[in-house]
Symmetry: C2
Subunit: 352 residues, 2 copies
């Protein structure tokens, strides 16, 4: 007998890091910024909340685009805005990856990439990172249906210099290459400067990390205007208004406060180096980080056990039970105070 | 030569009603509520804006679900929340309509339905409304891959009684039947009471219309827990956090203020009847409306000309240049003052 159950789509979804409601927890598991957003944000939200929430949001998002145009070498027709960079990337996969050849991405990277491929029935091949967890550009020279690379990569935290991206682009002029720059502001140089030369490049960024606004869900893509128009059309076939009025106002205020933003990034970089040094002293091996998190291991410690010990002590970090990386922990760079608590807790674990 | 352009998806998107920035315009084109949202909303947003926007939003949206559970006969595992009912519906199409048989919906209805079918390569058949623009349940008895019906329908404004929905459900136990109730609060009875009997029914509602919050983008689906779990899995394969913290707080406050909500609906219904009477007196033929808009024609008037005349006079309504309905205008029920301006403008057009 036929049943409605036959027509239901079954998928294996992405599993995000937990968002526990426990108070006083040290939350170093989802790479949020430890500092609040620019003070201009609260003011902008308060103003917007008085202003016609009964009406649909701006469909052009003009003010936010204007703010971003002041920061990046793009015009408004080279900008696409979405409900978090996850939505931007999901729509990019749907719009740009329609080849019968496989899309390429590293074997160790953001674990949403294969989920999106499965969702949209896109073929893909995972390309192994080298032994030092680095991306080898030459591994991306072969035939493919598109490429996506997180830079800095997650959870490795390693940044690939622009010449390597240029190398990959030079060998891939007939497919779309997406650079996912969620963590670029913590030490890397954005590939946005390459847009002028490469019409097949898409750069994706977010307000969730360096702008301290994971709660408002705003991300953006930058590319040539033909690529952006195609993405807009797909978006408008999915949901006309993906960014609400309040998030638009908040993101615009944050984008305009570049001094605060740069200051946040600087503070996080200083704390990161301090954290790495303290871990070094405890025998940890930490990959060189250009992100607001680190990826670390200690050959004398079982990573999963340390993860669980930290959790019981009120400190949440991220452990991935996956090949090649199940001896490591991904730890968000918090405040100096949070870092001190983390180090103290690791010391107490080591002295058990 | 191969080109990245070969892999780009080309679609014909939905075109929403315009959102002009002209001041002092009477905006009766996108069925927004003419009244502001509950006063509790502004307060809730202000509080939320101080509260950890740096962190990702709640993934369970528990408080909003609790608020909705007080209104509808559902448990939290029967509720799905999304970034506007457009996103909820888009994800429903992707999750529930995976048959090789065509999905059925009326020939005159929300024009996003065929756009979503095209986006997801879903076969569909448009079923003609009868001469009075009503849905005939018996037209939905045949084999199909699913059914979606807007109730009240748009742009017709006509409500189909629950016994007709029951009739359609009784003849379609092996496919998913979605009832899109964006306008249900303005005179209809929700099909949510049928969820207990029909495990293949999905009811979709929104905060954009009766709760005066189009700007925050929140919609929801109600169905049996197996259907909701499948929808959640697809959502979590697309974007883990589709509702931002501010919109969650705003929607929760609005959902909890049921007195204000019912009062808004009552005022709109009173103005609607007044508007219909005034149009009757001017020779218009208006379909019986259970929505916050009306669908009207006048055999002595060219609808497109009147649409353009109103627009020049600062009043925007909606005209669809489509077969069967190109002699009609869809007009949102505004405030009494806006209605008076509209009627005065129509009178001035008639006296030309």
């Amino acid at each position: 007998m036929s049943s409605w159950k036959d027509n239901i789509r079954k998928v294996v979804p992405y599993v995000p890091g937990e968002q526990p409601k426990i108070k006083n927890i040290v939350k170093l598991n989802t790479n949020e910024c430890p500092y609040p957003p620019s003070p201009a944000v609260e003011k902008a939200i308060a103003e917007q909340s008085k202003n016609d929430l009964r009406k649909y949001p701006s469909i052009t998002c003009g003010e936010l685009k204007t703010a971003l145009e002041k920061i990046y070498p793009v015009t408004d027709d080279m900008l696409f805005l979405g409900n978090g960079s996850d939505e931007v990337l999901a729509l990019c996969f749907m719009t740009y990856f329609n080849s019968s050849k496989p899309v390429l991405f590293p074997d160790i990277t953001y674990s949403f990439y294969d989920v999106w491929c499965d969702l949209y029935n896109i073929r893909y091949t995972r390309v192994p990172l080298d032994e030092g967890f680095k991306i080898r550009p030459e591994d991306y020279y072969g035939e493919n249906g598109g490429i996506i690379i997180a830079n800095p990569n997650a959870p490795t935290s390693i940044y690939m210099p622009l010449e390597s991206i240029t190398d990959i682009l030079d060998h891939n002029r007939d497919v779309i290459v997406i650079i996912d720059e969620a963590y670029i502001d913590f030490g890397g140089i954005s590939a946005v400067s390459l847009l002028e030369k490469y019409d097949n490049l898409v750069v994706v960024q977010t307000f969730s990390k360096s702008r301290a606004l994971a709660g408002i869900r705003v991300g953006y893509a930058m590319a040539n205007k033909e690529l952006i128009a195609a993405l807009e059309a797909v978006k408008n076939s999915f949901n006309s208004y993906t960014i609400n009025s309040l998030s638009l106002a908040a993101a615009t205020a944050a984008a305009n406060d570049t001094v605060y933003w740069q200051d946040c990034c600087s503070k996080i970089k200083v704390t990161r180096e301090r954290l790495i040094q303290q871990l070094d002293a405890l025998g940890f091996d930490t990959l060189p980080s250009s992100a607001n998190f680190i990826f670390t291991s200690n050959k004398n410690i079982n990573a999963k056990e340390l993860f669980e010990y930290l959790r019981k002590s009120g400190i949440i970090v991220r452990y991935f039970d996956k090949p090649r990386i199940n001896d490591r922990l991904r730890i968000t760079v918090g405040t100096d105070e949070e870092t001190d608590k983390l180090i103290a807790c690791i010391k107490s674990y080591l002295s058990k």
